[in-house]
């Protein structure tokens, strides 16, 4: 029997806890790394290394008490011997983790950003070039995080959703098949994407979160998010805006040669087995059983804007400019999000300029993501 790959999970939030617990319960060796200074996130599991995984609804995975092999703030300790490194982090945390970990990566490791968010793999690769030791490491991105769920206490995580068939792309894209061979030993249902541009564009957080936030900004601020984000907040008019963003995303994908899947269809693929149904974004999101407990953020200063705009929507806007595809609705949301939160998202974004690719033409960009620098 082939031994399951050993995993290092980077992150101390909801996704990281669920990932570590699930994979441990399935028989992998699992370590978890949180950065020094963020110990508060792992204080509940630092000593006995146990995460209790509870199940909500019908995600199709087993819960239980997972006893991790390592819980630490020491990157060297967490990474030693790991074959697959899963970065289960918000986009803005990818850079600090990359900088902390890159010196301790080992030849042959596969680093997977789940999700990548736009440019995650490219940013990681840039940091590896600058601060690594020339290690032969594969870098890949998943289009989205596999799990939906949350931490209910310092050592208990609830999982309500598990997405099958997520797409992964290596950076550069020519290494994708090779990387998938190993990754399918962790998540058998993974599928390939053509490049990290495709995985970036497949991230539906970009399509759904910010429009719902913008259209409920008053409700959020006035009641501190005292309503259900999808079930109450995603009304027909709100869903129309999200659908408009989705159309821009699909047009952009088409112009880059990707056959992206409309958001509604993706949601059915991910959550159909858990009872999600509907023919429109409104029907689907406002009745999806997976979202039954999801209350709205208590403030506008939440990753649904703070992450999804600079790491999703602004990059989409910048990619649209390179590809010659207009994105007026996406741009509208960026503008309003910036004013609502008093942040100039366009100057803080991980767009092509930030990645050192300002002025790159479309063909050169495609060559880069497919074949490398």
């Amino acid at each position: 029997m082939v031994e399951k790959p050993s995993i290092a999970v980077l992150g101390g939030g909801n996704g990281a806890f669920i990932t570590a617990a699930d994979l441990k319960l399935r028989g992998h060796r699992v370590t978890l790394l949180e950065l020094p200074g963020m110990e508060k996130n792992i204080e509940g599991i630092l000593e006995d290394k146990r995460i209790e995984l509870q199940i909500v609804g019908n995600p199709g995975i087993q819960g239980g008490l997972a006893h991790l092999d390592g819980v630490t703030t020491d990157p060297k300790e967490a990474l030693a011997g790991a074959e697959v490194v899963l970065m289960v982090l918000p986009a803005f945390a990818q850079k600090p983790f990359a900088e902390a970990c890159v010196p301790y990566l080992e030849d042959g490791q596969i680093v997977v950003l789940t999700p990548g968010n736009f440019g995650g793999a490219i940013e990681f690769s840039n940091i590896l070039s600058r601060r690594g030791n020339g290690q032969k490491v594969a870098i890949a991105e998943m289009e989205c995080m596999i799990y939906s769920g949350f931490k209910s206490s310092p050592c208990v995580a609830w999982v309500s959703g598990y997405k099958k068939g997520l797409r992964v792309a290596a950076y550069p894209g020519k290494d994708t098949e090779k990387v998938l061979q190993k990754l399918r030993m962790v998540y058998p249902e993974l599928r390939p994407a053509k490049s990290v541009l495709e995985t970036g564009l497949r991230n539906l957080n970009t399509v759904v979160h910010a429009p719902i936030m913008i259209h409920n900004a008053g409700w959020i601020e006035r009641t501190k998010g005292n309503f259900l984000f999808y079930w109450d907040g995603c009304t027909p008019g709100v869903a129309h805006s999200a659908e408009a963003v989705d159309r821009e995303r699909l047009a952009l994908g088409q112009s880059l040669g990707f056959e992206l899947t409309p958001a509604i269809q993706v949601a059915l693929e991910w959550y159909g087995h858990e009872g999600a149904k509907g023919n429109s974004m409104y029907e689907l999101l406002s009745t999806n059983p997976v979202y039954v407990k999801d209350t709205a953020p208590p403030t506008l200063h939440h990753r649904f804007l703070l992450e999804d705009v600079p790491y999703g929507m602004v990059p989409m806007e910048s990619l649209g400019k390179v590809a010659g595809v207009p994105t007026p609705v996406t741009s509208a949301i960026v503008t309003l999000a910036s004013e609502l939160t008093q942040r100039d998202f366009r100057s803080q974004a991980r767009d092509l300029k930030y990645l050192g690719l300002e002025g790159i033409g479309l063909q050169a960009l495609k060559r880069l993501v497919d074949h490398g620098a």
């Binding site: 129309h240 309003l336 609502l340």
Partner: protein, 371 residues
């Protein structure tokens, strides 16, 4: 018929809140009023009553001699034609009036909001009326009012310090003198461009609607629009729209005061709130607006009127002036998607205002002469 020095009879086109308020008010003060509405159902209760029951600054039953669906009947013999309809209806009425209008009969758009007169005149010309025309308008309705029953109107106050202008501008003084006895609280402004850019409804209704779309649709608007719906973040978007509006005014050489100043001057908020700079606070501390509930759906004039005939023409004027309007554009784009109406196309464009080929330099002359 010679130009009238004094108004004696008024054709009021539109029998909604404003039209009924105007009919009751002016008839009670001795003017001959002919009231017109497109919809016979709207007039039915009034016809049954023989008039309108007024409450507030006008009190009592006011008989209205003529109530009709026929525009020709309404304007026959009228010294003044008053349009008291949403801007979306200006086109219809321009077409209806084109065969009936004469150069001596002024048309008063109550209100004109943004670009009402410009639009009306252009539609008039498109419909074949080629003779001289005199129009005038107020920024917003001359009354704060509401229908309280099928034949009852509450007229809470006359709008104070209300901006008034004429198009063509050469008739400003004459028309203001003519209208002053009817509406003494109006203040003459430099042009319809100035009044166009003073439309405050267009500033805070669309952000309030757009950024509470979920709340509105999910609860049928079960919250207080100004008091609860205009939060700090939403207020910041209103401020951003206001900044763009003032930049457009500056770019076109037109006087403008900030939304907060105007809000305060209209008696609608406290001095302290204005000084704080927080639009959210100004709305919370707006006594007259305290109990106003949100619309129960996005299908409302706060969207159709204030975006299509408020923000869209403002942005169009911005383009004419070379002033970028990212926030206004963002609101127009997003509202169009949410509601499924392409306001950029169906709303009041430069072309519909008769300004398509105009440069900023040509604007002043056009506003003055109408040519």
């Amino acid at each position: 018929m010679t130009t009238v020095g004094k108004i004696r009879s008024v054709a009021i086109l539109g029998a909604g809140h404003g039209g009924c308020a105007a009919a009751a008010d002016l008839a009670s003060r001795g003017y001959t009023v002919r009231l017109q509405a497109r919809n016979a159902e709207r007039l039915k209760p009034l016809r049954e009553r023989g008039g309108i029951e007024a409450r507030g600054v006008v009190q009592g039953f006011v008989p209205i001699a003529t109530m009709t669906t026929d525009v020709a009947e309404a304007v026959d013999g009228a010294d003044l034609i008053m349009l008291v309809v949403p801007s979306v209806a200006h086109e219809h009425y321009a077409q209806a009036l084109a065969p009936l209008l004469t150069p001596d009969r002024p048309v008063f758009l109550n209100p004109g909001h943004t670009g009402g007169g410009l639009h009306f005149v252009r539609e008039l010309r498109q419909a074949g009326y080629g003779k001289p025309v005199k129009t005038c308008e107020t920024i917003s309705l001359t009354y704060i009012c509401r229908m309280e029953g099928p034949a009852t109107v509450g007229i809470y106050t006359y709008t104070k310090k209300l901006g008034f202008a004429a198009f063509p501008g050469k008739h400003s003084a004459e028309l203001h003198t003519l209208l002053k006895p009817l509406y003494p609280e109006t203040v003459l402004r430099s042009s319809v461009l100035e009044t166009a850019l003073s439309n405050m409804n267009a500033l805070f209704h669309p952000p309030g609607m757009l950024m509470n779309a979920g709340w509105i649709e999910s609860t049928n608007g079960d919250f207080l629009f100004y008091n609860q719906g205009i939060t700090e973040g939403v207020g910041r978007v209103v401020s951003a729209v206001d900044t763009e509006r003032m930049a457009i005014a500056k770019g076109l050489g037109v006087p403008a005061i900030s939304f907060m100043e105007a809000f305060h001057q209209a008696g609608l908020t406290t001095r302290a709130a204005v000084e704080s700079g927080s639009v959210a606070r100004a709305c919370r501390e707006s006594e007259p607006n305290k109990t106003i509930k949100s619309p129960s759906s996005l299908d409302h004039r706060y969207v159709h009127e204030d975006v299509g005939f408020g923000l869209v023409p403002m942005a169009a004027l911005g383009r004419l002036a070379g002033v970028p309007t990212p926030t206004i554009d963002a609101i127009v784009h997003l509202t169009s998607q949410a509601v499924g109406v392409d306001y950029g196309r169906t709303g009041l464009t430069l072309e519909k205002m008769g300004l398509l080929a105009k440069t900023p330099g040509e604007l002043a002359g056009f506003l003055q002469s109408g040519d």
